[in-house]
Symmetry: C4
Subunit: 231 residues, 4 copies
């Protein structure tokens, strides 16, 4: 019934090893069907090498399994919180990609240091506040999503212009128009995270000029975009 | 006679180059058959490209060769000490994987900095104390094992919850339920070692919150685990 | 009509992923035909995997499309400024290669630290001054080229002996006799940029001796060159 | 006439790209035939992809071409000095491998920090003194070899126990029993150079214990060696 959606989500999950974003099973991609109010997501702990279309799990927005025989990713409640809070996003990726995870472990935002960053992320990529002991002990994965939403709300960030976040002490989540777009943003975040570490070594005070950041972001996004073949 | 065990240990050894954990012959994997009281282990100094099933050496727990024409790994006495001390482990891996070796050379524990670490290693990964001149000069490889066991005893560490160690000035040993599980843990240790170096550059005071560490470790291990498809 | 030129520029563009200089579409190569006063350049935002010869765009020196149905790279005006200012260059490459981009983000010259650098770049590779708010807001890509030319003029640099530059907060441009030579120089810049970061960590005061720099540069370039098979 | 030697040297040269030790043509391997008093060496500036057996050049110890139509590597005089000074070495490799070159650029010895290093190099790997202006301007490549020999003499180093060196501001040379052994040592030097950079970041005072260094070196070398299958 959800064959097209499951096939796309399978493909998007298989992009994670292709782009060297995951070790073993440490990552998952989902996509939402807003009309049918379901998401398709990677099964928990299944290796990418052996993953089949029918391993992809369909769950409703309350987290009930609608189709599939495997457990969905243990991070499913985080995905659901984000889909519920942000009606404009269609796909979500969670990885432990090396350099983005380094920033999450350091508990620091990834500073916007150049146009590579500004082409995709409008401003510093936020590291959300740590979860409290209670938030960790009960409904941990759901609370992870809620803390992300809280952080975006506190900082007045638009999830379309800032399609990713670091969970402190953990790793990144990224999102996008659909699952492919979310993976695309995860690749970008990993690359800018990697460059930012060395940049901070060479120049701890480095930061992109706001005009340059605006120029690059709006060259690719919004009504006046002129990058690419979109007309 | 030990064909199945040797075949598995051959396969486990061949995972080391696959996961980029070894240069040349710098690594070895063994597995124990607790009933027959023997281990199968890589031969010393043989290249992975040419290794055959009958190159794998079977030795008893006193170190005598039971089957095979080649010398076993020169690190065999270290493996034997660990198998004798820890009845719950079934496979052992030694590598000089780049980033874990960096921590061993620095003589420092790999600090637990994030959930990637906490998913597999419960707490900081210990760097054992240096061997004395006498421990180095006589029965060096056996003493390497004994110093590991001493370190775990002093720190009251459970080898099941802490499936690896750094030998100071040398490199890591990892272990697990069997040889494949040991290799799995060696891959994880290398990745968390790599991330920890850059994390310490960005934030020298970083450390995972104990609640978060508990949550992730017990999400995957023990009676209340809910990660994956295990039921 | 421009088939040979387009074929060469297509090949030169495909070298960028081969040498790991680009992620997604983040890079472009052009080559000029000085007689016909046109350049061939990569189309904007098209992936390397699918690029065909007829996707390559031919534009005149005023930026008008002469042949091709796609938009040329959004960086085309930068390329044109450089071709107009430097009659001795035949090909230009722009990438966001990781380590050269790190130096651009840090806003620092890549210091000449060894003979690898001196074999290709005569002196420190300059990081041009930042663009002003006005230069960013109007004719940004053209102004990027003009700021490069200004920097070379201020520093009295010869673009033949210094075949590349960093754009502050952005990324490198490289050039050469033709598009292949430009890509060659982009590979070299990325490698020397990578080595320079770690060298500066080990020895912040390191710099190549001027005599050694001269020796290596002129061993490969100019009338007395004796490296290679050129006679 | 020198077919076997040339074939071996071709193969040894092709190991350089296989082990990721070279970019473009930045490296060369030679081997000496002590009886016939000739060396076989890579031609200058020829790409590894296209190299054929008859591209390998045979030169005598005075540097005269005995067989071959191409120019030998411009570094040939350095190789010749080392072969003349050290009768026990049979093969030499020069590369600009990334991390060994970083140490050469920093002008610092690669400190012996662990057993990986001690298994192959007995003590810190020396960075030779810088060449004087005069040594650079006349007979540069020959003087490079002479400065290496001077450094080993001053430090009373045995080239068999220390099969490599850094040329300050330049890059490493390695050697061994034959060309394959020299390449093997070049791979090891690159790996220990890489690990040493991060180790020095984590612990600037790190150094291997002398007893441990002795144990590992003599476990693999000399009359009492017991590593591997050599009996």
């Amino acid at each position: 019934m959800f064959r097209t959606l499951k096939e796309k989500v399978l493909k998007a999950n298989l992009l994670l090893p292709k782009y060297h974003l995951v070790t073993f099973t440490w990552g998952n991609v989902s996509e939402i069907d807003r009309e049918k109010q379901v998401i398709a997501i990677k099964p928990s702990g299944v290796e990418y090498d052996h993953m089949q279309i029918d391993d992809i799990v369909i769950v409703d927005l309350a987290g009930n399994i609608i189709e599939g025989t495997l457990n969905p990713s243990s991070d499913t409640p985080t995905h659901l919180e984000l889909y519920k809070a942000y009606p404009n996003i269609g796909g979500i990726v969670h990885t432990h990609s090396t350099h983005a995870t380094v920033w999450a472990q350091a508990g620091k935002d990834i500073p916007a240091l150049g146009t590579t960053h500004a082409d995709y992320f409008y401003g510093d990529i936020p590291c959300a506040r740590s979860l409290s002991a209670q938030e960790i002990q009960h409904d941990y994965e759901k609370n992870t999503g809620m803390v992300i939403v809280e952080e975006f709300s506190n900082r007045k960030l638009d999830p379309v212009a800032m399609p990713g976040v670091l969970v402190s002490g953990h790793a990144p989540f990224c999102w996008g128009k659909d699952s492919f777009d979310a993976v695309h943003n995860a690749v970008v975040m990993e690359e800018v995270a990697k460059m930012a570490i060395s940049t901070c070594f060479l120049n701890p005070l480095a930061h992109i000029d706001q005009n340059l950041s605006d120029k690059h972001y709006f060259r690719k996004h919004g009504a006046n975009a002129y990058y690419g073949q979109r007309k």
